[in-house]
Amino acid sequence: MIVPMKRLSLAAMQADEERLLEALQKIGTVEIIGILEDPTEAERSENALSRLQKLNDSMEAIKPFAPKKSFFTPQKREISLAEIRHETERAATVADSIESLLHEKSALSGEREKLLAQKEDLLPWINLNAPMDSIRNTKRVSYFVGFCAQKDLGKLDEQEFLEAQFVSDGTDLATIIACRSEDSRVAQNFLKSIEWTDYAFPKSSDTPCDAIRKIDERLAQIQTEVEKIENNVMVYSEQLELLENAADLTVIDLDRMEAKHELTHTNTAFLLEGWVREDCVEQTEDAVRSVTQAYSFEVREPNEDEIPPSVVKNNRIVAPFEEVQTLYSRPDPYGIDGTPYMTPFYILLFGLMLSDTGYGILLALGALAYIKIKKPTGMSGGISRVLAWGGLSTAIWGIFVGSFFGISRTPASGAIFDNVSAFFDRIGIFPVWLDPMKDSMQMLALCMGLGILHMVSGYLIKAIEFFKRGDWKSAIVDELSWVMIILGLVIGFLPTIAGMAGMTVNLPVTVTQPAVIAAGVGAVLILLFKGRNAPKFFGKVTGGLGELYNITGVLSDVLSYARLFALGIATGVIGQVFNTLCAMLMQGKSIAGQIVGGAISIILLILLHTFNLAINTLGAFVHCARLQYVEFYGRFYEAGGRAFRPLAYNTKHIQVTK
């Protein structure tokens, strides 16, 4: 259900401000609404921001070297704020040391980039056996250093007054040209007429070859220095937890500082405006009272123009499915929370899509183990619980359709699998209901029947909601009329439909006739009254016709439930195929062949079935969600609520113990 929200106005003395905010953050029940910004507070939070940046950079640097967390550590470790605060100094020192090492490293890599560029420049001149500073203009001789294009070599040769020496080859040749000083102007003009690029040697008395050698030496030196720095950084990798704790604490403090910007201050007092859950009002006031007696705590209903955040509250079974709903959209704060209605259908349909007892047990146990060991919270916590329920449902559906890791009661795969089938046959549990391979039409009918139930529930939920609001006209014309049409048509024509699927269903005329009549009444209701709110006569008529045309949409929605069947066989048949392949491996001609084949097929079976389970769980999860979003929520749900973001501990690595 949707939790009603209250507007809170809390006024208290500034002396108590920090402690009050700490208390509110601890219980995490109040979302603060910003009114004015205080620039002096912004400076303080900037300090915290740069501290956080430093911690994050250091963590990033040591993370690759940090010891791998074992699978058995929970997602967030439990620790109290006091413990972390005690160690902030040490964390800051560590972060400073890491950061100065990172600075050194980035200076070195800057130098390396520069040296590499210089080396690149000098490489064409490596064959020049003269010190670079010896090639400079003297009283009598002028030098030109640069690159000459291959195609202009001929032109260069033709010039009598120039002496050219080529140091490299290729399309652009490194060239040194000498001429008499008095010809230098002419030479310059000539060089402009051909494809010539000037080059200037770096100031150095080395030959290019020596210069390159020196650069290489320095590069090697840099490499060792960088390695030394990396080793020093690696030493700190043990401190990752310390830094993570400190980073989370900084985020907690930062949130509180930012909350302070949003408060209104007078000289001695402050005013906090915010949202609080109706069921947490008392708890919130208790928290305030525990800090100070000098306060004013007022809650009121929100005004029309104030849109509250959307919060839902459900029991332990339903609550995890709120995450599935959030993936779609949060409910309108004045609408309906669909989670309690969606939960039973989600569990039911998820199981039908996977429908394999072996996979179901494995999935449920896996999800439970994950919850137990990793203690996930938020989205991953919700989804792992959803999967645990789905696994349970899958195991039960598996009994109905007769599939255990792809093995059914009828032998199909060969080797040991047929023995298992025979065992199932003897104890007589598989399949007690439907074999999708043989009774595919019945299976399809079951899926669509469940679909119709699902959709009709959607219409009924909306109808009840309209009745609650006192809008009985909409409830009957918009919602119940469709229930009459759908159920009336299904019941009225059930014998015909069943006949098409190869089943015989006999309903007395006293049942089918009233059903068809009910469907007709529903259609007439829609035709006559659907356009009742349209302003013109034309609109009144077409409104009803348009709505009635939606019957095609309803029909295609029913067909959409065929995916339940298709995904079900995809899991079962693929599992069976894997078994068949491994059975072939096991049936070697010699004993040795059988042993080797058996060993390989055990490994293969584990890998293949894990793969099949993983990919089909993903498929079942999203396809089931789609059925809820499109076919079910489309009938009654009002989306568009915004998240409730209370001032609380928003941590990544730790779970604060209170």
Binding site: Y328, L559, R563, L567, A570, I574, V622, H623, R626
Partner: protein
Amino acid sequence: MELGTILATAGAAVAVLFAGFGSAIGVGMAGQAAAGVVSEDPDRFGNCLVMQLLPGTQGIYGLLIGIVIALQAGLMSAGGASLSTELGMRYLIAGMPIAFGGFVSAIYQGKVACAGINMIAKRPTESGKGMVMAIMVETYAILALLISFLLVIGIG
């Protein structure tokens, strides 16, 4: 060998081939996009991998139909089955829906998955919505799988 047996073999091959082609293209495209996002933010690997996997299911559906055809027509039994031309033709045609439905839907699902992966880069918290969008495309592969399956089973 009977022409019917050859046609049935072709049916199984076509189902696996084309659905597999489509999935390979789709997963390939999504993988490139995913690698781009992961290079910026390695923590997104999990989300991106799930998105990359989505267009891969068509290949599995194709494999499923291929195997069901092979089993049903007795192509895997020793000595080989001998089928009439008409029966073989029915197997070939029964393989068509998943072959082409899977081929085209996997490519387009791959494109939606790419867009979804880009969305993960910008708004990591909304990855679920990207997944649902990609799944919308898969609906048509599932319908194709269903019809292929019913047709093959119907041959009996």
